[in-house]
Symmetry: C2
Subunit: 160 residues, 2 copies
DNA sequence: GCGATGCTTGACGTTGACGTAAAGGGCATT
DNA sequence: AATGCCCTTTACGTCAACGTCAAGCATCGC
C-alpha cells in the first residue's frame, strides 16, 4: 500500500494528475469551474492535494458508470467529506441498475435483428440456390461469419 | 402478416409515421436533411412510401442499438437497397460487441465500488462498536439497505 | 370569407463536456 | 536577451440530435 500518496504533504501539479489519469488540463479546470474540485494555489498555479486526487478519482469513476458532472457534484454537496465514497457507491449502483434496464431493451432489438438476419440469410440462400447456384459457397461463408460473430468465437476484441 | 403495409400504393403522412413510431416531425425532417430518408412529394407535402417506412424502422432500431445517424447513413450508402437490413444487422452486432466491452469496464468499476462499500461499512462498524455502541442498530440498517440494493430485491424499477 | 389545422422551410437555441485559440506571467536554459 | 515550456485566464467553437419559434401556403368545415 503506497502510503506515499496518503502523506498530506504530497502534492500534484495539474499535469501530473492529467498524465496519471489520462485527462487534459482543460478537463480538470472544467471540473473546478463546475465546483467539483477546489485545489489550492501556489501563486497562480494549482496545487492538488491527495484529497483532490481522491476526488478526481471519484469524478472519473462516476463518469465511467454514467453519472453526469452535475450528479457527481450533487453527491459531493449532499454528503460531507466523510463518506463521499460510500454515497457515490450507492448512486453508482442505482445508475447501473438503470443501465441494465436500457440494455435489456437493446438486447431485445438485437435479438430481433439476429432473427431477421437468419431469415434473410435463408431467403438469400434459397434465392441463390434457385438462380445462381455457383455463388452458394460465398453465401455460406457469410452465414458462417455471422454465426461466428454471434457466438463470439473470433476477433479477440482487436486493439484500436 | 399485414400485407396491407406492403402494398406499394399504401402511403403515409409525416404525422402518421410520427404517431406510429413516437417520433416528431422535426426528427423525420432532420433524418431527411441528413440524407437518411427521401420521401416523395405531393405538392409541398411529404409522402412516405412503405419503403420509406421500412427505412425509418431501420433508423430507429439503429439508434436504439447505439448507431449514430452518421453511421446509419454510411450503412445505407455502402450497401444497396437489396440487403440494407442484413448490412445493418452485421453493424448492430459489431456495435453491440463494443458496448459489451464498455460494460465490462463499467462492471469492474462497480465491483470496485462494491468492495469499497463493504470495506467502508466494516470500518464504520468497528469504529462505532468502539466509540458509540448505541448507534450500532442504525448502522446495521444502512448495511442492510446496501445489501438489498446489491441483490436487487427492492425498488421494482419505479416508474418515473 | 374566416378561423382552425396541418403542412412547409428557415433559422436560431439547447445540452454536456469539453476543445481550441488568444494573450500573457514565470522560470530555466541557452 | 531570447527561446521554450508550463502555467494561467477569458472566451468562443464543436458535436449530436433534435427543440423551438417564425412566417407562410393550403385545405377543411362552417
Amino acid at each position: 500500500m503506497p502510503t506515499e500518496l496518503r502523506r498530506p504533504e504530497r502534492t500534484f501539479t495539474i499535469r501530473q494528475l492529467c498524465t496519471e489519469f489520462k485527462a487534459t488540463p482543460r478537463a480538470l479546470r472544467f471540473y473546478e469551474d463546475k465546483g467539483l474540485l477546489t485545489p489550492a494555489r501556489d501563486g497562480m498555479n494549482r496545487v492538488y492535494s491527495y484529497k483532490d486526487r481522491a476526488r478526481l478519482i471519484l469524478i472519473l469513476r462516476g463518469k465511467r458508470v454514467g453519472l453526469s458532472l452535475q450528479e457527481i457534484r450533487e453527491i459531493f454537496e449532499l454528503y460531507g467529506e466523510e463518506d463521499e465514497v460510500m454515497a457515490q457507491n450507492a448512486h453508482s449502483l442505482k445508475k447501473f441498475k438503470e443501465k441494465i434496464v436500457v440494455l435489456e431493451q437493446q438486447r431485445e432489438d438485437i435479438d430481433g435483428a439476429i432473427a431477421e438476419l437468419h431469415e434473410a440469410c435463408e431467403r438469400l440462400e434459397r434465392h441463390l440456390a434457385d438462380k445462381r447456384p455457383d455463388l452458394l459457397p460465398k453465401a455460406a461463408d457469410y452465414d458462417q461469419m455471422m454465426r461466428a460473430r454471434v457466438d463470439g468465437h473470433n476477433e479477440p476484441v482487436a486493439a484500436k
